[in-house]
Structure formats: structure tokens, C-alpha cells
């Protein structure tokens, strides 16, 4: 029973990693109705920016804000420079561009900052908070940040005009255009916001998994799993989904022989496929009801 509780708590801590990234995934989905397979690498790169700023002597807060702001601008730039010119191309071509972006960012980060792992500071400290070190103050802080981002996103999407415009642009671009929504700007804004959220996620994740160019590759899959479980359209669902995946993974890893120990990623795969087939809109996503 003790072990169960310990693993669940530790899963919650790991889950908040996934939750952070899942939020960024949901954000980009809200803007372009698409998954960004380079999202993890963008977050990694942003985290390196923060690290570099601190190496140059910037205080934590400045590095944090600086990296988020940089990412916001860079996200918009990526959309404008890379994706806008081919927005009419087939969706498969878009995926190839995501792949290209992935390769470029990963390679560039390795080239600039090399591949050795680097430690990354946390503003929350890493003392044991409760459960004998199972949840550290950083884990709790990370969860707090995830929830703060969640609330901000909720307010943005539900209670601001621009949030509504963004949802409209993503849901039905042509119609949105006919209502005077500047769809192109909304897409850019969505990219910028997703990149900034990714930066925050990266900065929160790096103290736990350490900073290196390959830090996000596998976390991205768990982030996808979290986002899918919660529903790609629901920021709240993404956070819940991320936490759930973390806990499920740990418990399965502890209690299911072989499968759990060796096939943790397969569990994520299983969760994705199971949720998608049973309830494609996720647990909290809005099912789109249409009458013809």
C-alpha cells in the first residue's frame, strides 16, 4: 500500500511534466487544428535560451521572461517564414516541415550547446515537500505553474474576444474570414503562444530531466498521450491527462510484470490508441455534434 501511494505520488510529479507539454500541444491545436511534431524541440530550444541568458549572468526571472518572450516571437516567425508560404500545400507536406524543423532545432542546439547534459536551476528549490521526497517543492511548483497556465488559457479562450476569434479561426477558417476575423494573424498568434507555453514547460521540466538537445523526444510522446486522454480541445483535460498518464505509467511499471517494467512507452501507445478508439474527443474534449 505504501509503495502504491509512493508510486502514485511520484507519478503525479512526473505527470506534471507531461501536463506542461500537453498544454502547449493543446494550444497549437486550438490555433491550427494540427499537432506540431516539433513542439518538444521548440520547447527544448527555448529552454537553452533561458540557460544561455543565465550563463550570461541574467537572474532567473529575467531569463524566464526573456526565453518566453523570445519563444513567442520565434513561434510567430516560424509560422510566417516557414508555414505561411505553403499553407495551401497538402497536410502531409506540413508534417514534413515539422520533421524538418525538428531536425534543424535538434541539430542546431547540439551544435551550439553540445550534447552533454546540463543542470538547470529551479526557483522552487528541491527540498522534500511531503511523502519523504516523493514530491519535491519543485514538483509542487511545476504543478502550480501548470495550473496557473491552465487558468490563464481558460480565461483567454472563454472570456476574451481574441480568444474567441482564435477558436473561430481554427474551427472554420473560411467562415471566420467572412466574419472579418484576421485568420492569418490568429494562426501566428497561436504559434507564438504555443511556443511561449512550450518555453515555460521546458524551463519547468529541465530541472527534473536535465537539459540536453534530446530531452524532449520521448516526453513529447507522453505529452501527446496526455493531451489525447484529456481531449485535444481542452486545456483542463490536457493537464488532467498528463497527470493521469504519469500515474498510470508508474503504477503499471510497478505492478504489471514485464509489460510495466520494460514497455512503459508501449503503455503510452496503448493509452493513446485505446482513448482514441473508445472516445476520440478525449475525456474532456467537446464532441462536435453536427446535424446535417
Amino acid at each position: 500500500m505504501d509503495l502504491f501511494l509512493h508510486q502514485a505520488l511520484a507519478g503525479l510529479a512526473t505527470g506534471s511534466i507531461y501536463a506542461c507539454l500537453a498544454l502547449a500541444i493543446v494550444m497549437i491545436y486550438a490555433a491550427i487544428n494540427h499537432l506540431n511534431f516539433a513542439q518538444g524541440e521548440m520547447a527544448m530550444f527555448s529552454t537553452f535560451i533561458a540557460w544561455q541568458l543565465m550563463q550570461w549572468g541574467a537572474p532567473y526571472l529575467l531569463a524566464f521572461v526573456g526565453a518566453a518572450a523570445f519563444s513567442f516571437v520565434a513561434g510567430i516567425a516560424v509560422e510566417r517564414v516557414l508555414f505561411r508560404p505553403i499553407h495551401k500545400a497538402p497536410v502531409l507536406s506540413h508534417i514534413v516541415l515539422f520533421i524538418a524543423l525538428f531536425a534543424i532545432l535538434n541539430s542546431l542546439a547540439g551544435f551550439i550547446w553540445d550534447y552533454n547534459v546540463k543542470s538547470f536551476p529551479t526557483p522552487f528549490g528541491s527540498r522534500s515537500l511531503f511523502g519523504n521526497g516523493l514530491v519535491s517543492s519543485h514538483d509542487a511548483g511545476m504543478m502550480g505553474v501548470a495550473f496557473t497556465m491552465l487558468v490563464l488559457l481558460y480565461v483567454f479562450f472563454r472570456h476574451t474576444r481574441i480568444g474567441l476569434a482564435m477558436r473561430a479561426a481554427a474551427a472554420n477558417p473560411e467562415s471566420a474570414r467572412l466574419a472579418g476575423v484576421r485568420v492569418g494573424r490568429m494562426i501566428s498568434l497561436g504559434w507564438g503562444m504555443a511556443a511561449a507555453i512550450g518555453a515555460v514547460a521546458g524551463i519547468m521540466i529541465a530541472p527534473v530531466v536535465f537539459l540536453d538537445p534530446n530531452m524532449m523526444t520521448s516526453i513529447l510522446v507522453y505529452g501527446f498521450a496526455g493531451a489525447v486522454v484529456g481531449g485535444l480541445t481542452s486545456p483542463g483535460g490536457a493537464v488532467f491527462g498528463g497527470l493521469a498518464v504519469g500515474i498510470i505509467e508508474n503504477l503499471a511499471g510497478t505492478y504489471i510484470p514485464y509489460v510495466g517494467r520494460e514497455l512503459r512507452l508501449t503503455i503510452a501507445l496503448f493509452i493513446i490508441v485505446a482513448v482514441l478508439t473508445a472516445k476520440p474527443s478525449g475525456l474532456f474534449g467537446r464532441a462536435i455534434v453536427t446535424r446535417v
Binding site: L35, I86, P90, L92, V96, I99, N172, V221, L276
Partner: protein, 340 residues
């Protein structure tokens, strides 16, 4: 055409074994991409996880040769059959997944494949992380060919059969049903096409092609290990598909050549930033030909041949282009008066 075939047949006598080995691999990748293309280009289903089927094909061949001393040529049908079954089964849940969601599910499959291959329960067969080393086939009947040359011809023969099979399949009733599902699933279903069955079948056939390619790949590389079939392979196949041209059978050959040679070119250009260079090449290619090489060729041919009577293949080409033209940013609310 004949000159091309002649060149392909005579090439092994003129070039180095290493280059031949590369060509053989490119051809193998082309067959794997063809499999992916049957699924994506002709049936409209996404997959970012075809490395899994490639791996199953490769392991089937390796295990049969290593543990049961099966002759290498028998491993191809076995690999194909195994992959057909697995593909068909994976196709069943995939039925309920559309576009992006299917991409996501298959993406996860690709990521999980290496773990599954080395998992303890399978270790007695797969050799776990150590993988399996197999022998290279020698030329039969005392043909005066070294094993590289023989493997090249063997691969070419297999590939020719596979391509002929694909072309015939797409010309058949079944092929028309498969494409009808891509173009308009509701209409296809209304016309009496069993959409579920055909979609799963296509998944199976697609996996079969990629699996046979995997078996050939195992023979050529003489080694299988979990690290050979990571997500990067899935990505490579996907890139080859798009670069070659979605829905284009000859384009797959180009895709195979691309994914084998272009990373090497990128490495020549810059060692430290090879991946970044590769990324930029990808971007450039997508900008220059947003619908892949086949799309570009089609465009050129279409321009020069517009005045002539409409070629037959033009119709299917534009149909497949329409499928893939659905961008994430456009929903189809256009009226019914689009020019036919």
C-alpha cells in the same frame, strides 16, 4: 524505358559493391514507401508508424533464417504474410481514427516498436538487444555473381513483382473501391463498398509491402536489432512518401533514392550540422514541389500536354491531389459550383 531497364540490369557489372549495396537499399526503401503509399496515397489513411511493419518483416526473415534454417527466398512470403495479419489487425482500431488521430496513434506505434522488439518475453526469438546476425544469400545455380550483385538482382526482381502487383491492384475493382473510399467514404459506402473491410485490407496490404521490404532489408544488412527500427525509420519512410509524391507509384522510387542519399549529401555539406542541413533541404524541396516530385512532373507534363486530349492518368492524379490538398487551415465549405 527500355534503356532504363537495361541500365538497371547492367549496372551491377560496372559499379562498386558499396554503391550497389546502396542502390539495393534504396530500392528496398522504395518498396517500403510503396506500401505506405498504398495506404496514404490511395486509401487516404495516414501512417507515421510504418517502421513497425518494416521491423516485423525484417525480424520474421531473420528469425526464420536463424532459428529454423529457412531458405532466404521463403522468408519474403512469410514476412509478407506476418505483416499482412498484423497490419490488418492494427487497421481495425485504426478504422475509427481519422487523419491526424491516426497519425498520432501510428506515431506512438513507431516509438514503441524498439521496446517491443527487445522485451523479455520475445527475447528467445529476437535475441533481445543483441539482435540477430544472418548470412548473406549467395547466387544460386553457380551464377557468376557475387552476393552483392545477386542480392541486387534478387531485390530488383522482387520489387518489379511488387510494383506490378500494386499497379494491377489499383486498376482492379478492389483498387477502385480503395480509391473511392479515399475520395468520398460516404459515397463509397452508399455504393455498397464495405468501407471497414477495405480499409483494414488496405492496411494489411500496405503492411505486407513494407514487411517484404523489411525482410529484404534484413538480408541486405545481414543484421537486425531494435535500434535499427526506431522512429527515425518511420520518419524517413514518411519523408520518402511525400517527396516522391503521394499517390504516385513511380514517385516511390524517387522517395527511396532520396531518403538513402540525401542524408549523406547533407553530411558531406556539414558534419556538425548534418541534420540541420537535411532539414533545410527538406524545406527547400517542399517549397519547390509542394506535392512531391510526382506533383512537379505532373505539373510539367500537364502544362505541355494541355492542348492535347486529356490523358487518362490525369484524372486519377488530380483526384489523389485533392485528397492531400486538405490543409489544416481550410475546411470544405465551398459551393457545389467548383469547376469540374
Amino acid at each position: 524505358m527500355i534503356a532504363g531497364v537495361a541500365l538497371a540490369l547492367l549496372l551491377p557489372l560496372a559499379i562498386k559493391g558499396f554503391f550497389l549495396f546502396q542502390l539495393t537499399l534504396a530500392l528496398i526503401y522504395a518498396v517500403a514507401i510503396l506500401g505506405l503509399n498504398l495506404l496514404t496515397g490511395f486509401n487516404g489513411q495516414f501512417s507515421l508508424g510504418h517502421s513497425a511493419f518494416y521491423a516485423i518483416g525484417a525480424y520474421t526473415a531473420a528469425i526464420l533464417m536463424d532459428q529454423a534454417d529457412v531458405a532466404y527466398y521463403w522468408t519474403l512470403p512469410a514476412a509478407g504474410a506476418a505483416c499482412f495479419i498484423v497490419g490488418f489487425l492494427f487497421g481495425l482500431p485504426a478504422l475509427r481514427l481519422e487523419g491526424l488521430y491516426l497519425a498520432l496513434a501510428t506515431f506512438a506505434l513507431a516509438i514503441a516498436t524498439p521496446q517491443l522488439l527487445k522485451s523479455t518475453p520475445l527475447e528467445p526469438w529476437t535475441g533481445g538487444v543483441q539482435g540477430i546476425v544472418i548470412l548473406k544469400p549467395e547466387a544460386p545455380l553457380g551464377l557468376p555473381l557475387n552476393s552483392d550483385q545477386w542480392l541486387y538482382y534478387f531485390t530488383m526482381l522482387t520489387a518489379a513483382l511488387m510494383y506490378a502487383g500494386a499497379v494491377n491492384l489499383m486498376k482492379s475493382r478492389t483498387g477502385r473501391a480503395i480509391m473511392a473510399i479515399r475520395d468520398n467514404p460516404i459515397a463509397a459506402s452508399a455504393m455498397g463498398v464495405n468501407v471497414a473491410l477495405y480499409k483494414s485490407l488496405t492496411f494489411g496490404v500496405s503492411a505486407l509491402y513494407t514487411g517484404v521490404a523489411g525482410a529484404l532489408g534484413a538480408l541486405t544488412v545481414q543484421f537486425v536489432a531494435p535500434d535499427s527500427f526506431t522512429f527515425n525509420l518511420a520518419i524517413a519512410l514518411f519523408v520518402g512518401l511525400v517527396i516522391g509524391g503521394v499517390g504516385s507509384i513511380p514517385g516511390t522510387l524517387l522517395g527511396g533514392l532520396f531518403i538513402l542519399f540525401v542524408p549523406n549529401i547533407a553530411e558531406e555539406l556539414s558534419k556538425g550540422l548534418a541534420q540541420a542541413v537535411y532539414g533545410f533541404i527538406l524545406i527547400a524541396v517542399i517549397y519547390l514541389m509542394p506535392s512531391g516530385a510526382a506533383g512537379l512532373i505532373r505539373l510539367i507534363v500537364g502544362r505541355t500536354a494541355r492542348s492535347r486530349s486529356q490523358p487518362v492518368h490525369f484524372e486519377t492524379a488530380s483526384r489523389s491531389a485533392r485528397l492531400t490538398r486538405e490543409t489544416p487551415m481550410s475546411s470544405s465549405t465551398s459551393g457545389d459550383e467548383n469547376a469540374k
